[in-house]
């Protein structure tokens, strides 16, 4: 549990990519944690959404791309709706998923879902899942 912080991390290409992709100003977040407090999926997450933002602010690419949290965001927009600083965590999570998929991290593609579920699940769930979590 040790992080070395230098300009190499905090001004890395990774930080710039996350900001560009998400359109969110990472340092605009003052870490109040309201996004985490209202998130309906924290129970299943390994770190809380505000920690994902913190790790991203500090350029901790490895940690943040390997967390479960970004794949457990259901994009319900509760975080962004209540954020006092107008930062939308769901967009940051999406940017990180996008970067993760670029590294061939697939959480749920067609092969992951049992046929009987595919048969009964609503189309919108399938399309959304593959868009957010597949390759």
């Amino acid at each position: 549990m040790r992080a070395v912080i230098s300009t190499r991390q905090v001004r890395s290409e990774f930080v710039a990519r996350v900001q560009d992709l998400s359109g969110q100003d990472l340092l605009g977040c003052y870490q109040c944690g309201k996004c985490s407090a209202g998130c309906p999926m924290t129970e299943e997450m390994d770190i809380i959404p505000s920690q994902v933002i913190r790790l991203s602010q500090l350029g901790q690419e490895e940690d943040v791309l390997n967390c479960k949290t970004i794949w457990l965001c259901a994009t319900c927009y509760q975080c962004g709706t209540r954020c006092p600083k107008g930062i939308d965590f769901s967009k940051i999570a999406e940017a990180l998923r996008y970067l993760g998929m670029g590294k061939e991290k697939e959480v749920c593609g067609p092969n992951h879902i049992p046929t009987e579920i595919i048969a009964e699940a609503p189309q919108q769930a399938l399309v959304s899942t593959f868009r957010k979590q597949g390759l």
């Binding site: 003052y30 209202g38 998130c39």
Partner: protein, 649 residues
């Protein structure tokens, strides 16, 4: 008119100007310039030797006007005008040519910058050529002050002014003075009873021979100018003859109007007829016309119940006109309405209250009115959750600023709560603990340790009712987990906002308020207790959220500004004002409508427009608006400006 002898003094400002502008070349060109009689330079004109060289030149060369080419006039115009008048050159014949901010600081090409400096100076030389010698306008000062707002800030300002021997009118819109301080329980840092601290001050006010107390009154209008204001004050009808009333309370017992607990009101107001909290004064009731059912229906219960026949529903509001020389605005603060925070207001739950309501609950416990009870069912709350920054530091939905007082009062409330409910547990959600005042950090850390207060770093996202509990969804960012607490009572430290009506009052006083309604100071660092309108000063939380000690400091600061004003018999007013050439004025009145200061009026049988010089701020709006060119500004006359333009182009 004979040619004026104009001297130009070029300052190097160390290297600030001299490193870009070629001073030697500039002075040479100026010496050859047609309007310039004398030109010289010096390293620092504002230094004593620099000023001496100006004085000497004025005397030796018999100069009729001077231009100092240096920094911005906001820095040293006054300095050099004083230099001029010390050798009997009218100060309004001294002008500044800004060749630092407008030239050397913003340019790097030395040749071009030198040319520009020359043009700037020659433009100002043209101005001085046609400048008139002017004398400041003198106005007598009415040494009587009006303080608006009878909270702790207003009380302190009024006492300071009155103690110095000047009469003060203290105007309070509620029926008693004391403001929010009268509602508080123990105060930080000493945990002394707020009402006891306050009552000494209230008593001083009520017996002070220099203070005229106008309670249940509001300022309707303010006219005039520094030293000579005229205030219109509405004295609201109390509907009760205070000579007869003995505060027996029989009327209150029969009043059918109940004021809900969570409404903002001074302590004691539970019905339409109520006993205002007046620790230091006789107990007398008043009626709030706005909610009384006599006026909306036919109720006269209190009148029937009163054994002294003291209630008179036909009593009318009264309007007073008062002349004063200075105004102190001390209208205080209010709380951001908690029902505007949707995620905290699920189903209008009664057990979610704000900090001020909790103060009232704690104060009632301190007065011995029984154990602490929560609003919904009267149960003693065993688990209390405090939520800081409710509506503060939230630029997206509420107030972007830090409300400054909440960190301190929250820890204090949690400490008093633990005294009231020794086996209770208090939890505090915070983003940052901001306890910068003297003794505040020690008080906070001691309070947390001694009272087993659980502080959790994170903001609450949602509150909802489940059974008889209020479930709090928060987070502890230090632990990295979402937190759920089933609480009996939730106290929101809602944002501190201006007192209701502050913006409207600012309009009536013709001073500015910021976007939120806090009164605006002239300069946030250097002139924090002065409004931009001369003679109107700011005291306490009317300007920004602040705690009691800070409010008192601020209040004394505002009072000292009033006293500085009252130390003069008359005051000077800048003579750079508008004037009218009556031959050209058609009396159309456009200038009267345009003037933002009420300094223009149509006068006399000819109905020509006049300038009330003491009110005129020299903004020039009327001059631009006048269709006939009849309005002109002293030392900025049309002809003068045209010559200046010629020189500049």
């Amino acid at each position: 008119m004979p040619q004026k002898k104009i001297g130009v003094f070029v300052c190097h400002c160390g290297i600030n100007i001299a490193s870009v502008v070629q001073i030697e070349e500039l002075v040479k060109r100026l010496q050859e310039s047609s309007g310039v009689y004398y030109a010289t330079d010096y390293k620092y004109m504002c230094s004593e030797p620099g000023q001496a060289s100006i004085r000497d030149a004025i005397k030796e060369k018999e100069l009729d006007g001077i231009v100092v080419a240096c920094c911005s006039p906001s820095l040293h115009e006054l300095t050099f005008r004083r230099t001029s008048s010390s050798v009997d050159l009218n100060p309004y014949l001294c002008e500044i040519a800004n060749i630092r901010e407008h030239c050397s600081w913003v340019h790097s090409d030395s040749t071009l910058a030198t040319e520009k400096a020359q043009e700037i100076i020659e433009t100002i030389v043209e101005k001085v050529r046609l400048d008139e010698a002017l004398d400041p306008i003198k106005v007598p000062v009415n040494k009587r002050a009006m303080v608006i707002g009878g909270g702790i800030s207003g009380i302190q300002s009024a006492l300071d002014i009155a103690d110095s021997g000047y009469p003060v009118i203290l105007v309070e819109r509620e029926a008693a003075i004391g403001g929010h301080m009268a509602e508080l329980s123990d105060t930080f840092l000493t945990l002394e009873k707020s009402s006891e601290l306050l009552s000494a001050k209230q008593r001083e006010v009520s017996v002070h021979s220099n203070i005229q107390l106008l309670t249940y009154s509001e300022v309707e209008d303010l006219d005039g100018y520094v030293g000579n204001f005229k205030a219109t004050i509405k004295k609201k009808a109390k509907m009760v003859d205070w000579d007869k009333c003995d505060g027996c309370g029989k009327c209150i017992a029969v009043c059918p109007v109940k004021v809900p607990f969570d409404q903002e009101h001074p302590l004691g107001k539970e019905n339409a007829i109520y006993l205002p909290l007046l620790e230091a004064g006789p107990k007398r009731v008043v009626i709030d016309k706005g909610i009384c059912q006599h006026f909306s229906g036919e109720c006269s219960e209190c009148q029937t119940a009163c054994p002294k026949s003291a209630i008179h529903f036909d009593e009318q509001d009264e309007t007073l006109e008062e002349e004063i020389g200075a105004v102190v605005v001390a209208t205080g603060y209010s709380m951001y309405p908690k029902d505007r925070i949707g995620e905290y207001g699920v189903d209008g739950c009664e057990d979610v209250i704000d900090g001020l309501q909790f103060e009232r609950m704690l104060a009632a416990w301190e007065r011995g009115e029984g154990p602490l009870r929560r609003p919904s069912d009267g149960k003693t709350p065993r688990d209390v959750v405090f939520v800081q920054c409710s509506g503060s530091r939230d630029p997206e939905h509420a107030m972007p600023y830090c409300s400054r007082i909440c960190c301190m009062y929250t820890v204090k409330e949690a400490m008093v709560y633990r005294k009231a409910v020794p086996d209770g547990q208090a939890y505090v959600f915070y983003i940052d603990i901001r306890t910068g005042g003297k003794g505040c950090e020690e008080f906070t850390q001691g309070g947390i340790a001694d009272n087993r207060l659980i502080y959790m770093r994170g903001k609450v996202s949602k509150l909802y009712r489940e059974g008889d509990k209020v479930v709090v969804w928060g987070v502890d960012t230090l632990m990295g987990k979402k937190v759920e607490i089933a609480a009996d009572l939730v106290v929101l430290a809602t944002a501190t906002v201006p007192s209701p009506g502050a913006k409207e009052l600012a309009q009536r006083l013709k001073v500015s308020a910021d976007d939120y309604g806090f009164f605006q100071e002239v300069h946030p660092k250097l002139r924090p207790v002065e409004s931009p309108t001369a003679g109107i000063f700011l005291s306490g939380a009317a300007r920004a959220p602040m705690d009691i000690p800070e409010s008192i400091m601020h209040a004394s600061g505002a009072a000292s500004k009033v006293l500085a004003l009252f130390s003069q018999d008359d005051i000077s007013h800048e003579p750079i004002v508008a004037f009218v050439d009556e031959d050209y004025c058609s009396g159309c009145g456009v200038c009267v409508e345009t003037c933002p200061y009420g300094a223009r009026e149509l006068q006399g049988r000819k109905r020509v427009a006049k300038v009330i010089e003491v009110l005129c701020q020299g903004c020039g709006a009327c001059i631009a608006a006048c269709p006939n060119g009849a309005c002109q500004q002293r030392n900025f006359q049309a002809e003068q400006c045209l010559y200046m333009l010629d020189a500049a182009l």
